[in-house]
């Protein structure tokens, strides 16, 4: 599958939400912990060999489970394969918790859910749909499902 690699590498050089040197271990049996510069940018986790310009790889942080493994380590499991996890070792407990928080909140789907929550609540409290002023109130990505109070139809 083709992807816009140059553009993604360029993205990996942008200011990050969070970046640190962590111990990183892959999901396969026999993988060992390696020191990597890990950078969280939008919903991607880039990891670099120390002092290299181009990342070794990029992990999309959607549909994944982040868990505390012990005092200083957390894991990310993908593809509903709970046993195949990437392990990350931090220097302090605080750093470990910070990373877990940041990764969870980096997910596009997490942000979407929050946006829908805020939109519904603001509408409930004020009677107004906050997305109307931006002209995006009928964007599919921000729709609420039938279980919740319906929003008014956008002005025609």
């Amino acid at each position: 599958m083709r992807f816009n690699e140059k553009e993604l590498v360029s993205l990996s050089r942008q200011p990050s939400e969070r970046a640190a040197e962590l111990g990183m271990r892959g999901p396969k049996k026999g993988d060992v912990v390696k020191k990597r510069l890990v950078k969280l940018i939008v919903n991607f986790l880039f990891y670099f060999r120390t002092d290299e310009e181009e990342p070794v790889g990029a992990l999309l942080l959607e549909q994944c489970r982040v868990e505390r493994e012990d005092d200083l380590a957390f894991s990310i499991a993908f593809l509903d394969e709970a046993e195949r996890k990437y392990l990350f070792e931090c220097d302090t407990q605080e750093q470990c918790l910070d990373w877990i928080d940041s990764i969870i909140k980096a997910s596009y789907e997490f942000m979407r859910k929050n946006l829908i929550f805020y939109r519904t609540e603001i509408h409930r409290l004020t009677g107004k749909d906050p997305l109307e002023q931006y002209g995006i109130s009928d964007e599919t990505r921000f729709q609420v499902n039938t279980g919740l109070p319906p929003l008014p139809a956008p002005p025609t």
């Binding site: 992807f3 816009n4 409290l125 931006y134 990505r141």
Partner: protein, 268 residues
Amino acid sequence: MKIHEKLLTHYLSCPSPVDKEGYLYKKRERNTSYHRRWFVLKGNLLFYQERPADRHLLGVIVLEGCIVQPNPPEGQFCFSLVFTGPGLRTYGLAADDCLGQESWVHALHSASHTCLSLLVKELGRLYEEAKRVSGESSQSPPVTEKGLNQSMATFNPGSSYSLQGKGTAMRDPRAYGGSHTLPAPLITIKTTNKRSPKLWPKRNALVTPLNGPAPTYGEWPLVGSDTLEDFSKLHEHYGDEVRQLRADWLRRKHEEEGHIEEDLIDLG
């Protein structure tokens, strides 16, 4: 660089909503002809394949760091994804008609993670204000520990979203606000790192208690910049481009009445 393809294809196939899908023409990198492809927009990822039923994906475009530009000089319903930066690509795309072009441009404009992030922050701020005004006690987005682990949120928007039947019809120009334009490229908003250091409260090993509230808005990262200003600027810029596109289309329509248009896209 390894992209872990399986993670992308898994995201595409999971039950979270597809933001937009449909046929578009994609310009080949090295020559001027176009291929018709089935595109699927989900989150900040634009996937493409030959046909909707295909299991094999041809490719994906990560939509961060690009500007979406309607591109009439190229062809009638054309638009581009311009990645800003040295040596970075521009993707040439074209829709079947004006409505298609407009709705894709609109969807792609607001697809980036950066854009959504600003919007969420702004809405969070409005929410706090609305609560203050109404005198309600604080209620955070109900994300459980499970939700924090990406499985499901108790506030569940549902596993399927119905695609809006109507296209994004001509919008009320007033929706786009004032007429000033954004002088600098959009990319500057993203690369300016104005964040102040984040202070996360200490928590126990479960991160948050089961079924308890998620961190309140006040605990979210403090952003040095004015989020309303940032998002309004983004919105103005998008709005201007789309308005320009509409104006051009209307003008062309008047001018070309009775004129048989030739095929501007080489399908051969």
